[in-house]
Subunit: 237 residues, 2 copies
């Protein structure tokens, strides 16, 4: 009998491309500000401003744009033109409007897993943007629930387990972020499959030290279904 | 026996002050832009830009600020300074950081209702900002669940009823917006108590034409508990 009662999937960079768009946005931002100032140290300074603002803005594109505008004013000593600030707003609007690009093999993998287990989508970021991406992805009906949370930490997973009425030991999370998708779930006694993406925002870096017998790494979406089966059938530690 | 199985409360302008802050923000915005241009028609033009952008930004403070920046660039023909644009960002940061001011009598009313019925909070806007306000309000533990949705229409209430496993006829919603809180719930066969607030965003205007026997208006938070009781005991139409 399976040990798994419910499987959670992360969305950004697990189901579809996301961080690439943020990297491109950053490059465009640096190009705009670079017309005013030397920007060799600006990527790091931008990250500092973004990190400071997360407490107010949370995650997502809109907060990123507001932090970029703050940064642009600061970096240029307020010399940046209104037209160039509007270009920064346009970066964000393009991101919010971009097509959803599913990652290779993930659609088949998710649909295959859905044949055997109930699935929930658990993601953070802008509620409105995430709901739009889920709708456009064509995967809405595969997931029993879509949960968009402001932060993915132990407290938020505990709340979700209570809402889902699931024992943490019977929950498995699939995602690209060790910090947000895997570490808190392992810490609470659940299982995790890490699917690394080729770029990871520095904010999402983490290391897993405990519960490694409940933790696997999949280097291809196609490996996920078999890996879930192996975890479901593995002896309880 | 009560006909009510679950009661939903709206948050902004039902539990705490919100629209006043948006009005103040708009006044400050017009003051800033007014240094460059005649702003006698700008409030309406700003609303047009905000409405157009809701499809991309959704509701909430961050989208409001981004629309204000777009509007400021447009209204001033890109003559607005970076410093003044930064002031517009600061308007938003102040709003996201403002203390939560509960409306008169609402805390007692909600706690009294919670003694007899399970309560959920259903609100739209920025996920991060709304979660922060709920936490600061001291009302978190009164609600069994906090649902932050991107839009409050019939489709989103239907999804919630399914998640809550509640029959629409046994659901009652309390809120200040006829359009978002009352009309869709009445339309789906539920009950509604409208608690008008002294200001309503033009976007939230609506009229209720059907189901008026399942619909009441409370002119004071203190009236809510008795009004719920009367609806609970009224004969099924």
């Amino acid at each position: 009998m399976s040990k798994i009662a419910l499987i959670g999937f992360d969305a950004d960079d697990t189901l579809w491309k996301s961080e690439d768009y943020f990297r491109e946005a950053e490059a465009t931002f640096l190009e705009i500000v670079g017309r005013y100032e030397d920007v060799s140290a600006s990527a790091q300074a931008l990250y500092a401003i973004q990190s400071r603002n997360i407490a107010l803005f949370g995650y997502g594109v809109k907060g990123m744009v507001l932090s970029m505008i703050e940064a642009a004013v600061e970096f240029t000593n307020a010399r940046i033109s209104a037209k160039d600030i509007h270009r920064i707003v346009e970066i964000g609007k393009a991101m919010l409007d971009h097509p959803v690009e599913l990652l290779p093999g993930i659609s088949d993998a998710v649909r295959q897993v859905a044949e055997s287990y109930p699935l929930v989508l658990i993601t953070k970021g802008d509620l409105f943007h995430q709901e739009r991406k889920v709708a456009v992805s064509g995967l809405t009906e595969v997931f029993q629930r879509i949960e968009i949370v402001s932060e993915k930490n132990e407290a938020s997973y505990e709340r979700l387990f209570k809402e889902f009425a699931v024992d943490p030991a019977e929950f498995l999370m699939v995602g690209n972020s060790l910090r947000s998708d895997i570490a808190p779930v392992i810490e609470l006694g659940g299982m995790g499959i890490h699917v690394p993406y080729h770029v990871t925002w520095v904010h999402e870096h983490a290391e897993i030290s405990a519960g490694i017998e409940r933790f696997r790494t999949a280097h291809s979406a196609a490996d996920i279904p078999a890996m879930i089966q192996a975890l479901a059938e593995s002896p309880t530690p």
